[in-house]
Symmetry: C2
Subunit: 149 residues, 2 copies
DNA sequence: CACCCAAACTTGATTGATTCAAGAAATTGG
DNA sequence: CCAATTTCTTGAATCAATCAAGTTTGGGTG
């Protein structure tokens, strides 16, 4: 996790003003990978006291736009944020409990970045989400198969 | 697009009761790839007259659970539905206008299905979303680069 | 060092897709 | 044809996220 000075420098380098809410949010995302907005609000309030949810929403948007954090939002789930940026890693999402883990793709650093037919689109990112069951849900489940034979 | 008889057979085969709303929704998804729920409601009402939005939501959920249609929901966008199922194709999404096109991955039929480290997850699907700019938005845009050098 | 102004935060309300709930209608197996 | 369960209708509720207006603050300027 970044120190306050590191956070400050990261913000300045990105051309963002340095405020206590921004430092707290940036630190919270580093300390809590894949946390949703509500969790981050909680962490920030533990750190600073009263902070409006609107401020956290604004900060998360600014940090995402600046490339300091990355927003991920698996289908049917809330938006989540993480600090690993720029390394083109992907995510494994549990269909049962929604937990998320990081996954570096087996193919290489930029997997599947070239679609066979891009329909004239200028593609700049390939986002991969692996869907499945996490270890906990695998052992816990007694029945309820995903798709019976 | 499937005939009414085909739709009926598909529903029965999937173990679903055959109703007019279900036939209409299934046909609408076939006729309008990547349509969102609201568009589908409109198409269904053009076909049948009054149909509750709740019915369409329920039907879309049932069809998705049965594997007759596929739900896709790019981050920050509404849920959309399509009829191509089981062929592991992917999608290109325009960052500007949100339009979606199909893309078969260059790597093969099941690209990247094995993550280098799956953290003990039992993975059953790899969902890939290519992000970029569609041809229309590429020509229209005068400035506003995504990330300046 | 005081001032200024745009950016950032607070407060409070609103949006809008989706879901929940209870009763009416329709499908299908017997 | 009838009963039982599923499905549809109606109407309300949820809740993450956004919008809006006013206040505060960061950080460069004179």
């Amino acid at each position: 996790m970044p120190t306050i000075l590191n956070s400050e420098h990261m913000l300045r380098t990105a051309g963002l003003r340095v405020t206590r809410p921004r430092i707290a949010v940036l630190t919270a995302v580093y300390d809590n990978p894949h946390a949703d907005t509500d969790s981050i609000i909680g962490v920030v309030r533990d750190e600073l006291g009263a902070v409006s949810h609107q401020a956290v929403y604004d900060v998360l948007r600014a940090l995402t736009a600046a490339g300091l954090v990355r927003r991920i939002q698996p289908s049917g789930h809330l938006a989540r944020y993480e600090s690993r940026v720029g390394d083109n890693h992907h995510h494994v999402v549990c269909r049962s409990c929604g937990s998320i883990a990081d996954a570096d793709c087996a193919v290489g650093t930029t997997p599947c970045l070239t679609a066979s037919d891009d329909h004239g689109f200028a593609i700049d990112e390939a986002e991969v989400i692996y869907w499945g069951q996490c270890p906990d849900c695998l052992t816990t489940q007694t029945s309820s198969p995903t798709r019976s034979p």
